[in-house]
């Protein structure tokens, strides 16, 4: 039997830890993806994901259902990401980029996707990730919430605590910066764009 988030939350508050585990199972991938895209580092994203659920579990008795459970989780995760970014700004550490290794490519190359395809996909992924790092945190978060988590403008505005028009401006400015960066790196040719 499948329970809704609200039902699982109610059961968790009543002391049923297994219900909370179902919520974790349901939401850990989206939360990890959000953290990874905001932070850009796999290990740290995993830590943020774990910490998000830990905090949610602790604060569950105080969750009165004013917002959707998922929105509440996203908010916790974004706050943790923001803390992480602040810490990194204060104490920047030289870190090895999480790049592609030959061994990893061979291991991941399945029968459907050739290594060349995988490399080009990875390269494009890296270019996008690089471009995203250029954006201010607010623009990046707005784009991530819209593009990868399908939130409405209003939901993003609530999440970021800003007016609806600000969300649209952030999205437009962010997309414009990304477009320029992708054009510069040959992933998006202006001529092609204009022709299509």
């Amino acid at each position: 039997m499948t329970f809704t988030d609200d039902e699982l939350v109610a059961r968790s508050v009543g002391g049923d830890a297994e219900s909370f585990n179902q919520l974790i199972l349901r939401w850990e991938r989206p939360i990890y993806a959000l953290a990874y895209r905001v932070i850009g580092r796999e290990e740290d994203a995993r830590d943020v994901c774990q910490e998000t659920f830990l905090r949610a579990f602790r604060a569950l008795p105080g969750f009165k259902g004013q917002a959707k459970f998922s929105s509440w989780l996203y908010r916790i995760a974004l706050n943790l990401c923001r803390d992480w970014i602040r810490r990194q700004r204060r104490a920047p550490v030289m870190q090895m980029p999480e790049g592609v290794e030959a061994g990893e490519l061979i291991a991941e190359a399945g029968p459907i996707e050739s290594i060349e395809d995988l490399v080009s996909r990875r390269q494009l992924s890296e270019v996008v990730a690089e471009a995203m790092k250029l954006l201010p945190e607010e623009q990046r978060t707005a784009i991530i919430l819209k593009e990868y988590h399908g939130m409405t403008f209003q939901e993003i505005a609530d999440m970021q605590g800003c007016p609806l028009s600000t969300v649209k401006t952030r999205l437009y400015q962010g997309l414009t910066v990304l477009r320029r960066h992708l054009e510069k790196n040959g992933q998006l040719t202006p001529q092609l764009v204009n022709r299509s």
Binding site: Y36, A45, F57, S125, L175
Partner: protein, 240 residues
């Protein structure tokens, strides 16, 4: 919503791009895009950028977090029990005061009881002084025999397989407990560092704000003094 679209209204364009606008607004933008090549190109470029964004996928990660009640495992999320949470300073001070007071009280009470205890001590000393040489010889013999016993019966103390299993279980439990404690310590340390960082950040911001305010105040005072000096100069020149 608006039934007309003004060229360069990027907020409306973004609403159109994400298909999140009212039908009449959508019609207005569609009509405009059909005749305005700049806006049409802008829309196509933004759409192409969105397509590229779709290629960005996060790497697979081993997640599988779980809340568990007692069994220690990897990937376990477990809130600290109330008795393991850090005790506030006032509570620590109160506990120390209670322990100290209890100790002092007990000491005082024992001091009061010492009178009758003294004869017993003396009596013991008196008993000790009456030990004879034969007692000492008997004691020596008994000690010698006890010391020689382990050599005679080594098999009687050999551990049985059941004991070995118990030892193994105890060792495993100790290892698990140590691992758990290490993990909790790491978690606590991380939380402490995070809290410390957040506090430091707040303090730094407050200091910066205060410095900014002081800077502003000082600037105003300097400007006032400069005006005053200029005024004095003008007045003194007029007098000459």
């Amino acid at each position: 919503m608006n039934e007309t679209f003004i060229c360069g209204d990027y907020e409306a364009l973004v609403s159109y791009l994400y298909d999140e606008c009212a039908p009449n607004e959508r019609r207005a933008i569609s009509g405009h895009v059909a005749i305005c090549s700049d806006c049409a190109e802008e829309l196509v470029a933004l759409g192409a950028t969105r397509e590229q964004l779709a290629m960005w996928t996060p790497p697979d990660a081993q997640l599988g977090f779980r809340i568990v009640s007692d069994a220690p495992r990897s990937n376990v999320l477990r809130p600290l029990r109330w008795w393991r949470q850090p005790m506030p300073a006032w509570a620590q001070a109160a506990a120390a005061a209670v322990i100290f007071t209890t100790g002092v009280t007990l000491g005082v009470m024992r001091g009061a009881d010492r009178g009758p205890a003294r004869p017993a001590l003396l009596q013991t000393n008196a008993t000790n002084s009456s030990v004879t040489k034969s007692d000492l010889v008997a004691l020596e013999q008994r000690l010698r025999s006890e010391m020689s016993q382990p050599h005679l019966a080594p098999t009687s103390v050999a551990a049985t397989p059941a004991d070995a299993r118990i030892f193994q279980q105890v060792r495993t439990m100790i290892d698990e407990s140590e691992q758990r404690q290490r993990r909790e310590l790491a978690l606590r340390t991380t939380e402490m560092v995070r809290d410390f960082d957040a506090q430091r950040n707040d303090d730094l911001m407050r200091i910066e704000r205060t410095l900014g305010q002081m800077d502003g105040t000082t600037g105003v005072e300097v400007a006032q003094q400069r005006q005053m000096l200029n005024y004095l100069m003008r007045v003194s020149q007029r007098g000459q």
